[in-house]
């Protein structure tokens, strides 16, 4: 088990900079998920930790020892690939014991270690099969087994569930979490799936264009995104973000979106610091903070509904506000049919304001 430090890590592919001044500390035993779009630099960062990619400058420390110039083999780190990359010409047993043969472990010890890992991952019955005979989930179990068998300092996983179907992904997600809790290995996990990130991570690291956007616990990232990118990336359905105008009517401050004549009422203290900047500002509000009502209420204004997505436990309803659409989360069946009129409001306490130019959250940490 180990602590991993990245200090001012830069990585260029030719003229293209894929990691920009990356500073990150992963604590011993922590489960960190790197989240971002493809091309965001998360896989490169992971491969740099593993030693599969050199860094252009900066330091990578494992347990305080500089590793950036060491070979992958000397870093004592395990890596799980998206494609599993099980060796097709070896049986499952040979695959799992492959890392142990590298360190010339005796065959009795090897057998013991393999059986132990196989039992934990429930793949004992497949030990003598070739990988091609396994299902996707079992293949990934074997890949994880191969990573865990020599008890590495850290376990790195690059979208390990990416090629599995949705149901299996959910099941494997739970297994990975269970395994992490049981073994407490320092784990770094790369994904573009924010649900995976939220459910697995102790801390989420969000990377975009090679720049670290935010590091924090899942709920912190969800509730207090530092910028519009993070806000949009985390959470499903996506946060509603629309350009906002301000007005003051009847002693209320209102925030208008989509050119609508009526705005949402906001307490002065919540918007004072953003309304007078003179900059373009966007309002961000998650679907669960969009409030709908069949009856007119104070602060609600009438709007048309359009598309409804029934999801069983709840519905996602599109509400036309001015020229834009606000997506609202409602209890299922609350809006019976498309085109129905409702009254809409938002919860000011859950609203965010983003700088139109930089995307920074203007509210700061609440």
């Amino acid at each position: 088990m180990a602590q991993i430090d990245m200090r001012n890590v830069q990585k260029f592919f030719g003229a293209n900079q894929v990691l920009k001044d990356l500073d990150l500390t992963i604590e011993d035993g922590e489960f960190v998920v790197m989240l971002g779009q493809s091309g965001g630099g998360k896989t490169t960062a992971l491969r740099a930790i593993a030693g599969l990619e050199t860094v252009t400058s900066g330091q990578i420390l494992i347990d305080g020892v500089e590793m950036q110039d060491k070979k992958a083999a000397d870093r004592d780190i395990a890596f799980v690939f998206q494609s599993f990359s099980l060796y097709p010409h070896m049986t499952v047993r040979e695959n799992i014991s492959f890392p142990l043969r590298a360190v010339r472990m005796g065959s009795a010890d090897r057998e013991k270690a393999v059986n132990e890992v196989a039992e934990v991952l429930q793949i004992t019955e497949h030990l003598d099969n070739k990988p091609s005979a396994l299902s996707g989930g079992d293949m990934q179990r074997v890949a994880i087994g191969r990573a865990l068998v020599r008890r590495p300092k850290a376990l790195l996983m690059d979208e390990p569930l990416g090629v599995l179907d949705a149901k299996l992904r959910e099941q494997m997600r739970a297994e990975i979490k269970r395994l992490h809790i049981a073994r407490g290995s320092t784990s770094v996990y790369v994904t573009h799936d924010q649900v995976e990130a939220m459910s697995l991570a102790d801390r989420i690291v969000i990377l975009h264009d090679g720049v670290l956007q935010q590091v924090g616990a899942p709920e912190e990232v969800y509730l207090h995104p530092t910028n519009a990118f993070v806000a949009k990336f985390v959470g499903s359905p996506v946060m509603n973000i629309h350009e906002a105008q301000f007005s003051g009517v009847n002693g209320h401050s209102s925030v208008h979106i989509g050119g609508a004549g009526t705005g949402f009422h906001f307490p002065e203290q919540l918007i004072n610091h953003v309304r007078n900047t003179g900059q373009a500002v966007s309002l961000g509000v998650r679907p669960e903070a969009v409030l709908l009502s069949h009856e007119p209420q104070e602060g609600y204004f009438p709007a048309q509904t359009s598309n409804i997505e029934p999801l069983g436990s709840h519905d996602i309803v599109d509400v036309l506000v001015g020229e834009t659409v606000l997506r609202a989360r409602t209890e299922s069946g609350y809006i019976a049919r498309e085109g129905q009129q409702v009254f809409v409001n938002i919860d000011p306490a859950q609203a965010h304001f983003f700088d139109g130019a930089t995307g920074l959250n203007l509210r700061g940490a609440n």
Binding site: R75, Y87, P99, A102
Partner: protein, 320 residues
């Protein structure tokens, strides 16, 4: 195959199968002809119309391996009776086996040595071409090589002119460095011919092997060369087998350079077989026997590697 076929599709299929049969017959007829002639008595080999039904004999093979001369006078009854069965066959053909005057040993025609030369040169040059080709292809496939495309084009360009064009300069160079009529000389030549082919084919195969396999091995504590041998090579075997078959066939069948560069010591079978046409009246059965035996190693080699070859022929589609 689709589960349901319309009658039009059925007829298309039948026509295609018929066409394949016709093609097969056209391809196989010369091979049948060689095999049939190799077992014919000499007087039936060139009859018009061809003799189809006959009593097979191994006399052509006996003649193929022994040095013979025309009988000036018939052997005595005692000589004939004491001769072994194979020598009788030669007597029956109006020839006698030439023996060493001192030891009485039967003198060889030299076909066996030529055959052995063919095997040595083809096998070694195939191993070298496939081995070096695989390593080169791995380098091109996995590492950034400055001017990679140019290098690959250059490697391919060595095949762009007919090899015979350089036969005379090669011959002169070989004479200077003493590689004329040596196994080494032919091995170098054939390896050079096949190498560009091997590099290109193997690059295709190695490109198909996911890099993650080696990366997994690298992370697991292996060096790159260990990763190559333990992970890449087993995955590349199919491609290597397919490449080896092609290289072997090219080297085995090569005629022009073997004819020019060798005469006794390192001569291979292809230039030797037709050289028998010229001495005395051509004995087509002996030539057919020599050719027939010459076909066998390639057939065996291809048969042994057939499983690899079938997958390998799809050039690259080796995963799962």
């Amino acid at each position: 195959m689709a589960g349901v076929q319309t009658s039009a599709e059925k007829w298309t299929n039948r026509t295609a199968i018929a066409a394949v049969f016709v093609a097969l017959i056209i391809m196989l007829t010369p091979i049948y002809w060689i095999a049939a002639t190799a077992f014919k008595p000499r007087n039936l080999a060139t009859t018009i119309p061809p003799t189809v039904v006959y009593e097979p004999t191994v006399a052509p093979f006996v003649k193929l391996f022994t040095k013979r001369s025309q009988l000036r006078e018939q052997p005595t009854q005692e000589e004939y009776d004491t001769a072994p069965w194979w020598e009788k066959m030669v007597y029956d053909g109006g020839e006698k086996v030439v023996r060493n005057r001192k030891t009485g040993e039967v003198r060889s025609s030299g076909y066996g040595d030529r055959f052995k030369n063919s095997l040595i040169v083809s096998v070694i040059s195939t191993i070298l071409a496939v081995g070096m080709g695989t390593l080169t292809a791995y380098g091109f496939s996995r590492f950034k090589v400055a001017g990679e495309d140019d290098w690959l084009f250059f490697i391919l360009s060595t095949r762009m002119l007919p090899p015979v064009v350089v036969a005379i300069p090669m011959f002169l160079m070989y004479r200077v460095v003493g590689l004329n009529d040596t196994h080494m000389g032919l091995i170098i030549l054939y390896t050079a011919f096949n190498l560009s082919f091997a590099v290109w084919i193997m690059k295709g195969f190695i490109d198909e092997i996911p890099r993650e396999y080696e990366e997994a091995a690298l992370v697991d504590g292996y060096t790159r060369i260990q990763a190559f041998f333990k992970v890449v090579l087993p995955e590349a075997l199919t491609g290597m087998a397919a490449t080896a078959v092609f290289c072997f066939i090219t080297a085995w069948n090569e005629y022009a350079f073997a004819l020019i560069m060798t005469n006794r010591n390192a001569q291979t079978a292809p230039p030797y077989i037709p050289s028998q046409v010229g001495s005395g009246l051509p004995d087509w059965t002996v030539i057919a026997a020599g050719t027939f035996l010459f076909l066998i190693p390639v057939a065996i080699f291809t048969f042994l590697l057939r499983n690899h070859l079938l997958r390998g022929m799809s050039f690259g589609a080796i995963r799962k």
